[in-house]
Every structure is written in structure tokens, then in C-alpha cells.
């Protein structure tokens, strides 16, 4: 499938979504789904198709942290760093996870297994500190959960 060029794959995603009302965000989602990130080369193609400027598309794509500039690892782990989780020791949890995985925030493990990111509130304050692994929320993160998470991403 990689034989198809970035341009052709971008054009295909645009063709599918451009009829929607306010199609830019759905298209960016589609691109991220297609590539696992939003390639810079895709942005001018989207801009031209929607009669927007490159700058506008760049502005939108960079506004949302979830639109990635680079491919993520096989797993994505997000640790909540917002106020409620901070009060329940998310700093300490973050330090432990970083030590266990050997990477900091916004980094991907050398073997491509996992990308670690901070997140500011998952709406799970009642179960703080919280995290999210590949879209699955995890509450009351502690040393044990960390071990499980590490095991899963390394498997």
C-alpha cells in the first residue's frame, strides 16, 4: 500500500470528506488516520482543495496537539498533568513512567514501541491520577499499573 504517494493518499482522503460542512477538521482527522500523523506535504494539498491558504491550514493543524507532525510509536501513553491529578501525585507518576520507559514527554522510545505525552485533563478527576493508553482511560494510576502498562507496551 505504501506504493501510493502521499499526494495521492491525501487527495483520496479529501475526496471522501470535502462534501461535509466545515470539512477541514474531518479531513485532518482522516489524514491522521491514514498516515498515523499529518504529513506537512498534505497541508498545501488540503489548502488548495478547500480554497484556503497554506497558513490557515497550518494554523489549524498546529492548534490541536493531537494532530501529529511525526508518526507516533506503536502505543501512545498519555499522562494527565492537570490540577486534580497534580494534587494526587501525577508528577511522581510521570517521573516513574519516564524512568521505566527511558523517555521524556513528547518522546518516542528508540524501538518505536511507545510515545509518551502529557495531557491536560481526561475528565477522570474522580479517579486521579489518570492516564490513557491507546485511547483507553486508566484511573488511579500507581506503581502496579505502571508496571502493567510498561509490560504491555514492551510486549
Amino acid at each position: 500500500m505504501q506504493a501510493q504517494s502521499t499526494e495521492a493518499r491525501t487527495v483520496a482522503v479529501i475526496a471522501e470528506m470535502r462534501g461535509l460542512e466545515g470539512p477541514l477538521l474531518p479531513i485532518l482527522h482522516g489524514i491522521q488516520h491514514e498516515f498515523g500523523y499529518v504529513p506537512t506535504e498534505s497541508l498545501p494539498i488540503i489548502a488548495e482543495a478547500l480554497n484556503l491558504s497554506n497558513a490557515e491550514v497550518h494554523g489549524v493543524a498546529t492548534f490541536y496537539h493531537d494532530y501529529r507532525k511525526h508518526p507516533a510509536g506503536r502505543h501512545v501513553l498519555k499522562l494527565c498533568q492537570a490540577e486534580a491529578c497534580q494534587s494526587m501525585g501525577s508528577d511522581r507518576i510521570a517521573a516513574q513512567v519516564q524512568a521505566a520507559l527511558g523517555i521524556g514527554f513528547h518522546e518516542t522510545a528508540k524501538d518505536g514501541s511507545v510515545t509518551l505525552e502529557p495531557v491536560y485533563c481526561l475528565g477522570l478527576c474522580a479517579c486521579a491520577p489518570s492516564a490513557m493508553l491507546d485511547g483507553q482511560p486508566i484511573g488511579r494510576v500507581d506503581a502496579e499499573t505502571i508496571a502493567e502498562i510498561v509490560a504491555e507496551v514492551r510486549s
Binding site: 497541508l43 480554497n51 491558504s53 497558513a55 490557515e56 497550518h58 494554523g59
Partner: protein, 964 residues
């Protein structure tokens, strides 16, 4: 003198009629409904602190400095986003507001360098002003934490580590710099780019503390979509976006309002000066053509005025193969006078003539035609409008009775459907394009007739609803097909036609356009435009509300140029789109004063005010004033002068500010004509291409160096004001006057205002125009006379000038310039944004970074057939000649069509163009030439010979040749 101060009201004016009265800090103020509290306060003379608001863009409400308290309302709303309400009581300074503002400013300054003393914006910085206004005395936060200010961390623990947030200064644009470390992210630049210019080249990338202004996709300005109009620089409240000239020179101390000398939009500028040094040009908000906006040429490309190649001394030579010899003004002028008199004695009174300039002032143009009519005793005067808009004069004169556009530029704000024909305003009339695009973003529809998919067709957020990519040369057929649809589908405005036009003439015309050969289906076959597109465009124009037509040289520069102008005029009359705001027929004039040069009697058959030379009553006016007997026969047009020169009967020519060798068609013929003359006088800033054939060179003055007036495309007479002394010693009008005196005429004008007085006295449409009036009104649109003492923004309001509007049949006749086996492609020509016409000025500025050479646009299909790849050297050949340039393979042009610009003398696109011309006015057919394209190794033999000849003819005695 001081700087011309303009009040920034913070938010744009409301156009509402209903008035609202409120109280601000105890003062009562009445403003239109919809006005912001900020603007209302400023109207009352109370300035509310602000950073993100400026009246060129809509309110944004992000800086949180302009907060106010309103009695009876909770909180502290921002005054820029809160509209006034009747009886509202506003307080702009309370203890609570002062505290909030000081706190906000403290945060701003905590991420801003404190290098005010050495900062380029020192003295012109709103951040500095606001710090003063809110009484900021202390910044408690320090710079140890996150910041965008320092390249390296200042934190003691990690000192010296690179600061990842810091971004270096972007100096890629030749005219301004972007220093992100000084940015307060107020978004004024982003909004100016979107709302004022309409390019959307800037954005805010990221979010929160990561937010940064980004040109394009985090690119340098030069690589982004930026068109360098400078609106962002003007909008920036800090030194983040700053003119390089201000960085180099410092802040200006006085300014003078004047008029741009590039295109026919005629933008008003403040020339901001330090002494006699021009620091920067800033568009003037009160300028009625541009309303405070500008383009890259007007704002930045004035460096030619001080370019080292500018000639400052008169020069003479015996033969054009001799080097130039610098002489005094007296010697040069008496040499011309004696030569011209000798030629007239030897070859007859009609053996000499002159060409007026569309780049010079009305007063200068008037003097040149006066010199020819009074001094030379003939009517051999013509102007460069011959090669651009002469068909407009003829076509609109025939149908409506005036030779000019019907509207002012403000009118576009009320248009619902805008039809652009044979024009690319985004490149050639950028400030008008910005105003048009603003209206399109508000919902107006756009129809474009152009062989190319131009920037105007594909503008961001202002895309054309219909693009009719017609084959060059088929304008008449396509415009008549539009009329066919309007007539056969009954979309015409019968009431308007019955009231304003001659009904029987309409019936005759309607019967003609309804004939089957004018149907979209038939016209599709020859124009290549799908019939359904023609039908859709016609229906939209006829039924979409106020329909306005703007057209350019793509209409006029054809063998049927005048016919197309009349076809356009018919279309507007048939749909009732004449005589009110939002409608009309408007030529987009190419040059700053091409309207004025036509008005001033530059044509061989017309005296000032478009009065035919054969009219006895008109001639009497001048006969008695000038004390001569004017010739009642029209003189020679430019092409006729050249023909006569080749035949040997035309021997001397005074050319003020025009480069006919480069700008007129069929260069070989022009050069042969010039070479056959015995005394060619070129009066110009530079040794232009025509000067290679000149015997006398008179140095010209720039628009910065003289007083006068320019008349723009909307008939607006704008003042040009002297901001520095002429570097060549004399303003152009003084040179012409001295030449006249040398030829024995008793001229004694002390100031251009006296010339305008003479124009007003002798020309009915200028009757009340005077410098006093212009000083009072700012500008005025002719006709300005007893009937319209304040000028005429919109023509034909109560009936056409000629009485009844005249419908004229517009039979399509294909040009004789046809493709065939030897020349299978059609060449058409145009302009790009950064360059201006033959480029004599813009090539001598940093604008060359955008366009270093002319290229040939060719469709991939045609390129492939010829084995041409992008960037290859190609030979472009027509029946008239050949040249070489690089290929740009693009589908902007249709198969079968190639396109180039004519900005560079090395290319000389006009070597290719032929001598076909408009049937009525001789306007050359630049827009259609049958050509062949093939691969080439480099410059043609002609180009090499020409370059050598140009080098030889530019030698000046006693000076070393400039190293190449």
C-alpha cells in the same frame, strides 16, 4: 511641517444611519449604531488603552487592555468588542480597570525585551506607549522562566542552554524584518493580511504560550504566500514587523501626503521623511482610492529614485553610435531647439512631433501637448494610451458619451456580481483587488473572463464562481454570447432601456445578438468556453443584483479592442447596470496617469477634455489664449510617426517618460523608425531602451521631486506633492517650459498650480478644479464644474452624457493573426505583481527577488510535445521575430496558449508581437500572437546583438563603463 497625524479609532466605522447617544467619562457622545465603545470614546477625544485593536481591522478582543466598566452591567467588558447602546454610561478609568491593565501590561512586558533605546520602533511603539499610559513601573516576573526573548536560557541552573522557544529574526523579505522575540501575538498582522489584503498568508501557529505568528507553514516570509503588501508591517504595534528602511535610517520627523506613481489605482501615501531622505511610504487612510491600503510596489519599490543608474545631467551626441557627452541644460535645450527648427525648415512643419507620458503629471502632459500644438505648430502628439486604453476612449465615448470609467472604487462595496474581463487585478491593480476580494468574501459573486487561470480566478476565499477561459482573440464573440443569453432568455431590464436608451437601437441590437451564430453553443466552438459556463455567467450577471464590470488590457489590446469595449457597454446598458453605486463599466487603467494624459489632449485628434481638433469653437479658445492658429487636421499617431520616419518624412521626436522601444509592438519596426530620425529627444529617469536611439537625453524627475496632479482610473484628480528637490535640478514641467522658451515661446509658469488654472479655464470638465479645491477636498473626480462642484463619483446618474445610451452591433471578426502549421500556439502577455510594465523602475528595486526574469508559461501537453521541461531555455518565434526565455510548465494556461510578461529588456517580448492593431484606434494587438516554441541553447542572435548595441550606446564620455 511635522508628521501627518492620523487618529486610530481602534475599530472600523459603522455605516449605520441610526444614531446612538451615550456617556463616556461624563462626556456625551453620539455615534452611529454598531460603533464600538472604543471608537465612540475616541470620537469624544478619550483614548482607551489598547494593543490588539486598530481601525484597519475588525475588533478581536484579545489584548484585555481596553476593558471598561459600564454602569448597570457586570464585569469589565472589552470596549473594542462591545457596541454602544442608547443611554449607556461608560467609565474608562477606574481603580479596578487601572489594576487590571497594569497587571496585563506586566505580563506582556515579562515576555518582551527591554531594549527600547536601541529598538527600531523607539518613538513609534504602541507597547511602549501603553506601558506609559497604564503607568507600568515594575515587572515582577523576571526572565528566568519560559520566554521567547533570549536565544539562551537565563536561568542560573541551566544558564547558557539554548532556549527552544526563541526564534531568530527573519530577514528574508527585502523590505521588512520579522523579529519573533518582540511579538506580543496581538494578531493584528494576521488580521490585516486576511481582512485588508485578503491573502491569508499569516496565521497564529500553536496555542497558549506556544502561539507564534507564522508566515505560511512556519516558513520565511519570502517563501510563504506573502505578497509583501506591507499591511502587516503597518498594523504591527511593536518592532516585530519593521521596515528595513526604518531600521537603517531611524524614525521620520515629517511627512507629506502624495500619490503613488505606479498603476491606475492612484493610492494616496504619506511620504515619511527625515530631512530630504525618504524613510518610508505609508498609505493614507483618507485616500479615497485606497482607503489606507497599498501594494508591494507603492509602499516599498521607490528605490529607483536614488538608483545609481539614474541619469542626472543632460547629454547630447551627434550620432547614435557615439558615446554620450554631458552638457549643461542650456546647451542641451538650445541644441534641441535649433535641431527641431532645422528639421521643420528642411522637411516641413509636420516632420517633428512628441509623445506625452502617462507617468508624468497632468500639468506636464498638458505642457508637452501645448509645446507641440503651439510651438511645433502641428498635432503630432500621441501618448502611451495609444497602446493600452485608446479603445476604451473610443468605445465608451461612442456608447455613453465619456471616455472613462463610470464608478469610483468605493462603488465595489455595493456590488453583488463582479465581472472581470481581461484583467488580473491581483497582480496589476492589487489594491483594487483587495477591495474587490473583501466584497467577494462578504458574498458577492465573481465572474472572470481570461485565457489564464490567474490569481484573480483562484484567490483564497474569493474564488471565481465562473471562469471563462476563452481562446485569445475571441472576446467579442464571448461577450456577445453573454448578451445573446440575456436577450433570448428575457433577462434584460426593459424599463431602464426604455428610459435611458433608444428603444429602436436596442431592438436592432437585440435582433443581432439573438442570431444563432452568437449563441453560446456556436461560440463554444471558436472560444473553447463551454456553452453552459457562458449561460451560467450571463444569468448570474443579469439577475444577481448590482452587476459591475471591470476590464483591462485583455479587452483593449486586440484587433477588435474597441468592439469589445462596446460589447461590454451594451451588456451593462441591457441589464440596467449603469448610473448608481455598485454597478458600472470600469477600465482598470494601467498607469498612474494614463487617464490624465488622455484627458489632457495627448491624442493627435483631441484637445484637452476630449474635444475634437476639427471643432472651430474649441480651437478658438486656444487660438486666442496661445496666440496661434491651430492646425485643424489631426496629427500622426505613434505607429504613423514611425511609418513616416521609415519613409523619410518624419525626422524629430520629443519623448517624455515613455520607452516605446520596449513597450510598443514589433520592436524591429520601432527601432527602424527611431534610427531613421535625425533628432530623437528622450526625457527620462534612465537610459531606457529607446534612449539607445536618442540624440539628446534630458534627465527626468521622479514623482517625489515635483508638484502636480495624477488622475486615476476612477477619474480622481489626486495631488502629487514635492517631498525632495529634483536630483536632476529641474522638475519635468520646468524642463518642458525651458524647451518651449528655447524655441521662442513666451511661457512663464511659476508653479504647476498655474498650469492647472489654465487647464480649468479652457476645459469644461475641469472648470472648477484648482489646487485650492484639491487642498480642501483631498481629491476630486471630474467632471468638476458648475453642475458638479464637488466632482462626480458616479457618472450617468440621471441619463447618459451623450443623451441616450447607444447600443451598437458587435460583429465578431476573427483576427488576421491566426495559428497555422508554422505558428501553432497563441501567445498572450501580462503583468505580475512585483514588476511594473517595462520594469524601468521595479527592476531597479529589490522587487527583483520575486521576478528576476520573464518566463514562458506553457501547458504540460504542449511542453511534452516539444520535449520542453520546466526551466528549459526555449525559443519563442513569431512572424515578427524571435527571442529566448525559460519555460514554466503549468496548467494555468490552456493547451494551445502560451503566456509571458514584458518586464525585462533582455527578453523583449515585443520582438515577437506583430503590427496588427485595433481597427478604430490602432491600439496594438499585444494579446494575440501566433507563435512556435522550441528548445533552445540560450539567447537568440538578436538578443546578443541587441545587448551589445545597448552597451555601446550607453557609453558616457569621461566615465568608465560600469563593470558587468
Amino acid at each position: 511641517m511635522g508628521l501627518v497625524q492620523e487618529i486610530d479609532f481602534g475599530t472600523p466605522a459603522s455605516k449605520a444611519e441610526k444614531q446612538v447617544t451615550l456617556t463616556v467619562d461624563g462626556f456625551t457622545v453620539t455615534v452611529p449604531e454598531g460603533t464600538s465603545i472604543m471608537r465612540a470614546s475616541m470620537e469624544a477625544g478619550i483614548a482607551i488603552p489598547k494593543l490588539c485593536a486598530t481601525d484597519m481591522v475588525d475588533a478581536f478582543g484579545s489584548c484585555r487592555l481596553c476593558l471598561v466598566e459600564i454602569e448597570g452591567r457586570a464585569g469589565t467588558p472589552s470596549s473594542c468588542t462591545t457596541p454602544v447602546a442608547p443611554g449607556m454610561v461608560v467609565h474608562t478609568q477606574t481603580g479596578r480597570l487601572k489594576d487590571i491593565r497594569k497587571g496585563v501590561m506586566e505580563l506582556y512586558i515579562s515576555d518582551h525585551p527591554l531594549d527600547c533605546l536601541t529598538c527600531a520602533a523607539n518613538g513609534d511603539c504602541e507597547l511602549q506607549d501603553m506601558a506609559g499610559a497604564v503607568g507600568l513601573r515594575d515587572v515582577r516576573y523576571g526572565y528566568d522562566g519560559d520566554n521567547h526573548v533570549f536565544a539562551k536560557s537565563r536561568n542560573a541552573l541551566e544558564g547558557g542552554v539554548a532556549n527552544m522557544r526563541w526564534m531568530p529574526k527573519d530577514e528574508s523579505n527585502p523590505y521588512f524584518t520579522y523579529d519573533p522575540s518582540k511579538c506580543i501575538v496581538c494578531s493584528r498582522c494576521v488580521r490585516a493580511c486576511e481582512e485588508v489584503q485578503g491573502t491569508f498568508a499569516l496565521t497564529i501557529e500553536g496555542r497558549g504560550f506556544d502561539s507564534r505568528v507564522s508566515p505560511g507553514m512556519h516558513q520565511p516570509f519570502l517563501d510563504s504566500e506573502c505578497v509583501s503588501c506591507g499591511a502587516c508591517v503597518q498594523a504591527c504595534p511593536t518592532a516585530t514587523l519593521t521596515e528595513k528602511s526604518v531600521i537603517r535610517i531611524g524614525q521620520p520627523e515629517h511627512s507629506v501626503v502624495t500619490t503613488c506613481a505606479y498603476c491606475g489605482v492612484g493610492c494616496s501615501f504619506k511620504a515619511e521623511m527625515r530631512g530630504d531622505e525618504l524613510v518610508r511610504m505609508v498609505p493614507w487612510k483618507d485616500g479615497k482610492a485606497n482607503r489606507g491600503h497599498s501594494c508591494v510596489k507603492g509602499r516599498f519599490a521607490y528605490g529607483y529614485a536614488t538608483h545609481k543608474e539614474r541619469i542626472l545631467n543632460p547629454m547630447v551626441r551627434e550620432k547614435i553610435s557615439d558615446p554620450w557627452r554631458e552638457v549643461t541644460w542650456e546647451e542641451a535645450l538650445s541644441h534641441i531647439a535649433s535641431e527641431f527648427r532645422r528639421l521643420q525648415y528642411q522637411y516641413g512643419r509636420a516632420s517633428i512631433g512628441g509623445i506625452t507620458s502617462s507617468r508624468c503629471t497632468n500639468e506636464e502632459t498638458y505642457l508637452v501637448q501645448k509645446l507641440i500644438r503651439q510651438g511645433f505648430g502641428n498635432n503630432n502628439v500621441d501618448t502611451c494610451a495609444r497602446v493600452c486604453h485608446s479603445p476604451t476612449g473610443y468605445g465608451l465615448g461612442q456608447t455613453y458619451g465619456t471616455s472613462a470609467g463610470t464608478q469610483d472604487f468605493d462603488s465595489v462595496e455595493d456590488s453583488d456580481v463582479i465581472m472581470v474581463i481581461g484583467a488580473n487585478p491581483s497582480a496589476a491593480h492589487p489594491v483594487f483587488a483587495s477591495r474587490m476580494k473583501k466584497r467577494i468574501r462578504q458574498g458577492a459573486k465573481l465572474i472572470v473572463l481570461d485565457p489564464r487561470r490567474t490569481e484573480t480566478v483562484t484567490s483564497v476565499h474569493a474564488k471565481a464562481d465562473f471562469h471563462l477561459p476563452l481562446k485569445p482573440g475571441t472576446n467579442v464573440a464571448v461577450v456577445t454570447a453573454l448578451a445573446h443569453v440575456i436577450v433570448t432568455e428575457g433577462l434584460f431590464d426593459e424599463a431602464f432601456i426604455r428610459e435611458r436608451c433608444d428603444w429602436s437601437e436596442f431592438e436592432d441590437w437585440a435582433a443581432f445578438v439573438a442570431e444563432p451564430q452568437n449563441s453560446p453553443e456556436e461560440v463554444e466552438k471558436l472560444s473553447g468556453v463551454p456553452a453552459e459556463t457562458i449561460r451560467g455567467a450571463a444569468r448570474l450577471y443579469a439577475t444577481g443584483g448590482n452587476g459591475a464590470i471591470y476590464y483591462g488590457l485583455g479587452v483593449t489590446e486586440h484587433s477588435q479592442g474597441s468592439t469589445t469595449v462596446m460589447a461590454i457597454a451594451n451588456l451593462a446598458m441591457a441589464t440596467g447596470n449603469i448610473g448608481k453605486r455598485g454597478v458600472g463599466v470600469n477600465p482598470l487603467r494601467g498607469q498612474n496617469n494614463v487617464q490624465g494624459s488622455c484627458d489632457m489632449g495627448s491624442f493627435p485628434h483631441e484637445l484637452p477634455g476630449y474635444r475634437h481638433i476639427s471643432g472651430d469653437a474649441v480651437r478658438d479658445i486656444y487660438d486666442s489664449l496661445w496666440g496661434v492658429k491651430l492646425d485643424n487636421e489631426p496629427g500622426l499617431r505613434i505607429p504613423n510617426m514611425l511609418d513616416a520616419a521609415v519613409e523619410g518624412s518624419f525626422k524629430g521626436l520629443y519623448i517624455q517618460g515613455e520607452d516605446i522601444l520596449q513597450s510598443d509592438p514589433d520592436t524591429h519596426h520601432v527601432s527602424a523608425g527611431l534610427a531613421a530620425m535625425e533628432c530623437v529627444v528622450v526625457h527620462d529617469l534612465f537610459l531606457n531602451e529607446t534612449a539607445n536611439y536618442a540624440h539628446v537625453f534630458l534627465p527626468g524627475s521622479t514623482f517625489l521631486e515635483k508638484d502636480g496632479t495624477f488622475t486615476n482610473a476612477e477619474r480622481r484628480i489626486n495631488r502629487v506633492r514635492k517631498v525632495m528637490a529634483p536630483k536632476n535640478g529641474l522638475a519635468d514641467w520646468e524642463v518642458t517650459q525651458k524647451l518651449a522658451q528655447a524655441m521662442g515661446l513666451n511661457w512663464n509658469y511659476q508653479h504647476p498650480s498655474e498650469i492647472m488654472d489654465e487647464i480649468a479655464k479652457t476645459t469644461p470638465s475641469f472648470q472648477l478644479v484648482s489646487y485650492d479645491l484639491l487642498e480642501r477636498e483631498g481629491s476630486v473626480q471630474w467632471p468638476c464644474n458648475e453642475k458638479a462642484p464637488h466632482g462626480t463619483p458616479i457618472m450617468h446618474m440621471d441619463g447618459f452624457v451623450r443623451g441616450k445610451g447607444k447600443f451598437i452591433r458587435t460583429e465578431y471578426v476573427a483576427t488576421d493573426e491566426k495559428t497555422g502549421p508554422r505558428f501553432p500556439l497563441l501567445l498572450t502577455t501580462g503583468r505580475i505583481l512585483s514588476q511594473y510594465n517595462v520594469g524601468a523602475q521595479t527592476r531597479r528595486t529589490d522587487n527583483v527577488v520575486w521576478h528576476a526574469e520573464d518566463v514562458l508559461e506553457i501547458h504540460p501537453h504542449d511542453a511534452e510535445q516539444r520535449g520542453v521541461r520546466h526551466g528549459d531555455w526555449v525559443r519563442l518565434k513569431s512572424r515578427a521575430g524571435e527571442t529566448t526565455l525559460r519555460a514554466d510548465v503549468t496548467d494555468r494556461v490552456s493547451p494551445g496558449v502560451v503566456y509571458t510578461t514584458f518586464h525585462h529588456p533582455d527578453t523583449q517580448a515585443n520582438v515577437i508581437t506583430t503590427d496588427f492593431s485595433d481597427w478604430a484606434t490602432n491600439c496594438p494587438e499585444y494579446k494575440v500572437t501566433a507563435v512556435q516554441v522550441g528548445l533552445s541553447n540560450g539567447p537568440s542572435q538578436w538578443q546578443e546583438e541587441y545587448a551589445e548595441q545597448a552597451r555601446m550606446s550607453r557609453r558616457i564620455e569621461g566615465r568608465l563603463e560600469a563593470a558587468e
